[in-house]
């Protein structure tokens, strides 16, 4: 027999002014199952809670209804109080008679009647409540960071700083990512390498961080706190533990015609190489597509020259398996392919380059040692024209519909650096809008115009063509309402950025959702910007949306804070309001698994006794309570009615409906 206690809160005058609390208490007394009904000025106060606890003890209550403010406010308070008195916290229900009643109705009679119905509805529900216990799952105190760019580096450093072990998995031979390719950074113009490489070294020196370069995530199993991850360590053909980074192999390699990816293919590198001087780890790698020994068996020079015997041509890919409590995705971006934007003549003219190529041409460690020379003839360009929004905000099938966010600022940076270093250079910028929101950002752009004399032209370029050795840039000057043609020596395209395509596979492995532009989706656009909808997976950097370095670093640190908050726990309390399948009714149809956004539902073969010693094995749904988030999508999809949601069971909601309709 149910023994329900009902407590009506006055909330000072917030409720009591419009709702006749006395009448509500009185009306409820006669409800079947109610053994105690009272009202009190402030139920959430110490005394109010004591009243509740005393009643539980005295009347041996099996269920409690509090008519008060929104459950979003004090449900947890009253559940805790009940628990302290030995009542299962999930036997407490709230009737929201403040936000949903007293505050919005003026007529006392009407409001009182509604309050009575709302309390009766809560009673109807609580009668069907079952005690629930939050499960516990252990936490593996180690984090995985996928991607070794600035986002991954920052997240790893912060997690390591808190004392947790963290692995960085990077698919390239070195960490550093895109930031390592940049020359200077906006809006302060400090050199990218100067601020990045110390962080890279910190990663290498940390005893908590394990850097797995030239490696890719192959498989992910498990759930928050308990991920099991397979990592492919690609064959490097150089023993990381032996190589000293002396570069003798590079000097001796006869196959020197490989395209230097780090320099955006603007120059060549040998088949055995270290991507750049400050690479971490400072260990060579052999490009198997280019190496003569690996391709034809002839050569082997590097092995002969290596003083420490680090070269091993027989090396193969290895799969390692590790366990993690949390995962940070920081896979970064790449510039889009602009071959289809033929109006800018990128593929026909060597002197039409992308902004990232310009970064390398301006970089002291780049192919021209930092001297700005145009690729076609290695001369100083005297007139440089920048074109913004190449592929951004473009709905055609060549471009991207979104704003890439960083281009306005880096174009201003490039324009300024060029004018600073080569004051005799004329710099033009075609733009649609200059978008520089951010601290000191618009000021930075204005400096380009006002102090550095960069010519900003509002309008888009229609065509770039070669005439008498000049690149003719023909476009609109919308302010002047003129079509202008600027004979230029170098044209720089502010190319749109897109998520690194490998993110697709990672999203699938993690059941992290991805949007139509391949950006990973955050759990909530405002309130959960670094969480993936998959518990235990966090997002940092451009994989989640276009952003610049300061934003990326902030997001990476935010991820780290979330990871630390998770790893610091010995076990995780799981939300007990999760789906559960009645195995005797489940027909194993897989519909529930199809709608589950979290991959919480798997199928197991279960043996059922049929009587007479016979058994039958059937495939039935199993909901992993640690992964289920409790949305209930599966409960409605289930054709046999086997799936139900604890705490929001079909019977409970039906009884609420009935109670509301009872007149």
């Amino acid at each position: 027999m149910q023994r329900i206690g009902v407590f009506i809160c006055w909330c000072g005058s917030n409720i009591a002014a419009t709702v006749d609390v006395e009448r509500v208490s009185e009306a409820i007394k006669s409800e079947p199952g109610v053994v105690f009904s009272a009202n009190y000025q402030y139920m959430c106060s110490e005394n109010g809670q004591q009243l509740l606890r005393n009643a539980i003890k005295e009347y041996h209550l099996t269920g409690v209804v509090v008519g008060s403010c929104s459950p979003r406010m004090h449900e947890a308070t009253f559940r805790k109080a009940a628990e302290a008195e030995g009542l299962n916290p999930y036997m407490v229900e709230i009737a929201n008679i403040r936000e949903h009643c007293s505050w919005i109705h003026k007529d006392r009679e009407e409001a009182t009647e509604k309050a009575i119905i709302l309390v009766r509805t809560a009673i109807a529900k609580v009668k069907l409540n079952a005690p629930l216990t939050a499960g516990e799952s252990p936490v593996t105190k180690r984090a995985l960071v996928i991607g070794g760019g600035i986002a991954g580096i920052q997240a790893a450093l912060d997690i390591a700083e808190a004392g947790f072990e963290v692995d960085i998995v990077e698919k390239n031979p070195t960490i550093g990512g895109r930031m390592a390719q940049l020359d200077k950074t906006f809006p302060t113009l400090d050199c990218a390498a100067c601020i990045l490489t110390p962080k890279m070294v910190d990663c290498a020196q940390s005893d908590k961080i394990d850097i797995l370069t030239y490696s890719e995530v192959e498989d992910v199993k498990g759930f928050v706190g308990n991920f099991k991850v397979k990592i492919r360590r690609k064959a490097r053909f150089v023993d990381e533990t032996k190589c000293t980074g002396c570069k003798i192999c590079m000097d001796n390699c006869p196959s020197k015609k490989g395209l230097n990816e780090f320099n955006m293919n603007l120059n060549n590198r040998p088949a055995i190489y270290i991507p750049f001087a400050q690479a971490i780890p400072n260990v060579a790698v052999i490009d198997p597509e280019q190496c003569l020994k690996l391709k034809s068996g002839k050569c082997g020079l590097c092995q002969k020259k290596c003083g420490v015997g680090a070269i091993d041509y027989t090396m193969t890919d290895k799969i390692i398996e590790r366990e993690y409590g949390a995962i940070v995705v920081a896979t970064g971006f790449r510039p889009i392919n602009i071959d289809k934007f033929n109006e800018y003549g990128y593929s026909e003219n060597k002197d039409v380059i992308t902004s990232l190529e310009l970064e390398r041409l301006m970089n002291a460690a780049g192919p021209t040692n930092g001297v700005l020379l145009r690729p076609s003839d290695n001369t100083h360009p005297k007139v440089i024209t920048f074109i913004q929004c190449v592929g951004s905000r473009d709905l055609t099938d060549c471009g991207k519909p979104y704003c890439s966010k960083i281009c306005c600022m880096y174009t201003a940076k490039h324009a300024m650096l060029i004018r600073e270093k080569y004051p005799d250079t004329e710099v033009h910028v075609f733009y649609i809008d200059v978008r520089c929101p951010g601290k000191n950002y618009d000021e930075f752009y204005r400096r380009a115009c006002e102090q550095y004399g960069v010519d900003y032209i509002k309008g888009m370029v229609g065509k770039v063509y070669n005439q008498n050795g000049k690149l003719m840039v023909q476009g609109s000057n919308l302010i002047e309402n003129e079509q202008v043609t600027i004979p230029s020596d170098l044209v720089v395209l502010a190319t749109a950025i897109e998520p690194e395509p490998s993110v697709r596979k990672i999203a699938t492995l993690l059941t992290a959702s991805i949007d139509t532009n391949n950006f990973l989706t955050e759990a909530h656009p405002k309130l959960k910007p670094v969480e993936s909808p998959t518990a235990g997976v966090y997002l940092a950097g451009v994989c989640q949306g276009p952003k610049d370095i300061p934003e990326t670093v902030s997001q990476a640190s935010a991820c780290a804070a979330k990871v630390i908050g998770l790893l610091v726990k010995d076990s995780l309390k799981t939300n007990p309001c999760v789906a559960q399948s009645d195995e005797s009714m489940c027909n194993g149809c897989s519909q529930c698994a199809n709608v589950c956004a979290y991959g919480a539902i798997t199928y197991i073969d279960k043996e059922f006794r049929l009587g007479g010693g016979k058994t039958e094995t059937r495939r039935v749904a199993y909901v992993n309570p640690a992964v289920c988030q409790g949305c209930g999508a599966c409960t409605v999809t289930c054709p046999s009615g086997a799936m139900d949601l604890k705490g929001f069971a079909s019977k409970q909601i039906m009884s609420e409906v009935e109670e509301i309709c009872r007149k």
Binding site: K114, T637, M654
Partner: protein
Amino acid sequence: MQEVTEQKKEYVPTIVAFCCNWCSYAGADLAGSSRLTYPANVKIIRVPCSCRVNPMFVLKAFQRGADGVILCGCHPGDCHYVTGNYYTRRRMSLLFSFLNYMGIEKERTRVEWVSAAEGAKFSAVMNDFAKKINELGENKRLQDLRVKEERDE
């Protein structure tokens, strides 16, 4: 005096509103704290996600004599559970057209997207919906007469 009593007895429709915990229930709370009124015959049931609403619940409401049923969820793309509200949209548009076929007018059922920040919208939606239901009057199409008799007794 007589007249006033008559008016009081005028039919007051019953409206059931299912609100998802993350957006619309919070939107309703905001409507409350902003003191934005809507009729008292709207009663809210809290569900974790609009996709928790089984068509059975809607049918049950009409069987028990509800005159209008409204579902509120997060805006498409903003669902706390990623895709829940898409299921709601699909399921309910199917259910509502079935109900319409059975004579439960389309205006008696509705799905609305109300975010946690849209208290004003919540109130406006409920006012509008209640007005429409008032105009339509009592729904008798799916009502279980046995239930009605029990009640009248």
